[in-house]
């Protein structure tokens, strides 16, 4: 473990972190091992965010540093092992009627960084599209996001559509977004609510580990 790289990412020093990644990469270090170091450091950034020590702008910077580090090492990773072994699959999207994606994108980025395969359906996603993707990729987890209260019904209808397709027992459904709380989780029939991107990653880990 390179203490320098780890420290640079954890303290959000973008230039220093990328310099370390390049140096390690050029010295012939196993790219998967560099990837793992970056992942562990970003996890600490996520934990600090969750603890209220870091704020959203800083979590974004952490995710960006990770992304840039991956750009350095990814050419050397073998095909199919681009981001190491997949820990599990997640289908994610902002539900129909809502086009907000800041939180959803960050959840997707943090999940990818944590080693999950993420199928990001984008924004304004129809319930049929969620059902289709669940059927096609068989994810362990579906994540639905919304900022607008008017989207609560769409979240509920999407859960019902997944159920009507006979797929509800095969997935855990988590919801998140500005006004989404425990009560909304109950209203829409989801399994969990994630307050932020870091918590969403923990939820997915728990769901996948519990299978």
């Amino acid at each position: 473990m390179s203490k320098e790289l780890y420290e640079a990412i954890v303290s959000l020093e973008e230039l220093a972190a990328l310099k370390c990644v390049r140096e390690e990469f050029d010295s012939g270090k196993d790219p998967l091992s560099i990837l793992e170091e970056c992942r562990q450091a970003l996890e600490i950034v996520g934990q600090r965010f969750d603890a209220g020590e870091y704020f959203l702008s800083e979590l974004i910077l952490g995710a960006q540093i990770f992304k840039e580090a991956m750009e350095v090492i990814s050419p050397a990773l073998e095909d199919g092992k681009n981001e190491g072994a997949s820990l599990g699959k997640v289908v994610i999207g902002t539900v129909k009627g809502d086009i907000h994606d800041l939180g959803k994108n960050l959840v997707a980025a943090m999940l990818k960084a944590a080693g999950f395969e993420v199928y990001d359906l984008g924004v304004d996603v129809a319930r049929e599209r969620f059902v289709e993707m669940v059927r096609e990729v068989r994810p362990q987890v579906v994540g639905m996001s919304a900022l607008l209260t008017i989207a609560f019904n769409e979240m509920r209808d999407t859960v019902m559509a997944i159920e009507a397709a006979g797929l509800r027992d095969s997935v855990k459904i988590m919801v998140g977004g500005g006004p989404v709380n425990e009560a909304v989780k109950g209203y829409v029939g989801a399994d969990a609510v994630g307050r932020n991107a870091s918590q969403a990653v923990e939820l997915v880990k728990m769901f996948v580990g519990g299978k």
């Binding site: 959000l12 704020f55 086009i99 994606d101 209260t149 008017i150 006004p179």
Partner: protein
């Protein structure tokens, strides 16, 4: 107990942190007004006569409230385009005809190099060019020369009718977007977050260059319409988005200048601060005492705000949108009573919805909020 003060007297009392006859109430229904009166949001945004009519009808049906936290007449599908520094989609114009709400489409439209344009060429020149980039197919001149003046005229008339004649003040009409907010929208928040780390000096210089033009336009707008209060928006500068260190460096100096200048012009800054401001409440003690209203949504802990700012500024808020949309009347009454008991203790409080009353709020819930202020909110002598 019958009301003994006018709504205007009540609002003035709480701004000065005095205890009025009862807790004032000022919800913010916007598209809810269209929904409960059976018109589409599309019509609400295109027919200004109807917008005023249905909004006033909601007010009358609910027995009235103490201030217009949303005032109708000026918010239409065209003026929204020059009011927000990012692309707005409205029903029938970017969104389906039956869409219940406009939505903001956040994209990176402002380039990194634009900071230099603001610094070198001035904010007004940059913003005019930026709007053209944002809406390449829109005839912006028509909006500026026809829609915007008509909107100002309508708001001025609404102000005269309600604040001057009926003594129900307007807390709405002009909004200041702090420069730092403008750039965070225009760059998209993701890129802006990186700018704060990568080019802090540029961000600061551009904010400084934009401050005076933004401020003067808002002050002139208020004077032209006769408004006595205006919004100072805090959408992206709260703790949901940035750190306390970033707030102190990039936001607080400009916010203080804006608020001080508004107060010097006898205007009441309504700090319309969405998302979580709880960790930043202490900074707001640096703003002038007894002059501002801090209006928060449900994400800010208003009980904590009472502890930190209760002797410094009036608080407004913050019944959860979820309670209004999905809760029962009993849920609403319980939440309002708790706010009245704690945040309303001794005055300095206006009961309201946390930001906008949801489009799909239950009308009986909104009524319960208004009624609870008028009955349970009476101060004992």
């Amino acid at each position: 107990m019958a009301d003994v003060m006018t709504p205007k007297e009540r609002i003035e009392a709480v701004i000065g942190l005095e205890q009025p006859d009862r807790v004032p109430v000022a919800p913010m229904p916007i598209y809810f007004n269209a929904h409960v009166n059976g018109i589409s949001s599309k019509e609400f945004l295109r027919n200004m006569v109807r917008q005023v009519e249905v909004t006033e009808r909601t007010f009358e049906r609910m027995g009235g409230w103490d201030a217009w936290y949303f005032a109708p007449g000026g918010t239409n599908w065209k003026t929204l385009k020059i009011r927000f520094p990012l692309q707005i989609l409205t029903p029938g114009d970017g969104l389906p005809d039956d869409a219940p709400l406009p939505q903001l489409d956040e994209k990176e439209v402002m380039a990194v190099g634009d900071y230099d344009v603001v610094i070198n060429d001035g904010y007004d020149a940059w913003y005019a060019a930026y709007l053209r980039r944002l809406y390449p197919d829109e005839n912006l001149d028509v909006i500026f020369t026809q829609y915007a003046p008509a909107a100002s005229k309508a708001l001025a008339a609404f102000h005269r009718k309600w604040e001057v004649e009926r003594k129900v003040p307007l807390l709405y009409g002009v909004s200041i977007f702090q420069p730092v907010e403008i750039f965070s929208f225009a760059r998209s928040f993701y890129q802006f977050a990186l700018d704060l780390a990568r080019r802090p000096e540029k961000v600061t210089q551009a904010c400084d260059a934009a401050l005076e033009p933004v401020l003067q336009r808002a002050i002139n707008g208020c004077k032209n319409m006769g408004l006595t209060a205006l919004w100072v928006g805090g959408w992206r500068t709260g703790a949901t988005f940035i750190s306390p260190r970033q707030f102190e460096r990039f936001v607080l100096p400009g916010l203080k200048k804006i608020v001080n200048e508004l107060v010097a012009n006898d205007l009441t800054p309504v700090l319309h601060f969405d998302a979580n401001w709880t960790p930043f409440l202490r900074f707001l003690r640096e703003l002038p005492p007894k002059k501002c209203i801090l209006a928060t949504d449900q994400e800010t802990d208003l009980f904590e705000a009472k502890k930190v700012l209760g002797d410094h500024m009036c608080l407004l808020g913050n019944v959860h949108p979820h309670t209004l949309a999905l809760g029962t009347v009993d849920d609403v009454v319980a939440e309002c009573r708790r706010l009245i008991d704690i945040v309303g203790a001794g005055g300095g409080f206006i009961l309201s919805s946390g930001c906008e009353v949801p489009f799909n709020a239950r009308p009986e819930n909104v009524q319960a909020m208004v009624d609870t202020a008028k009955t349970y909110g009476v101060y004992q002598k």
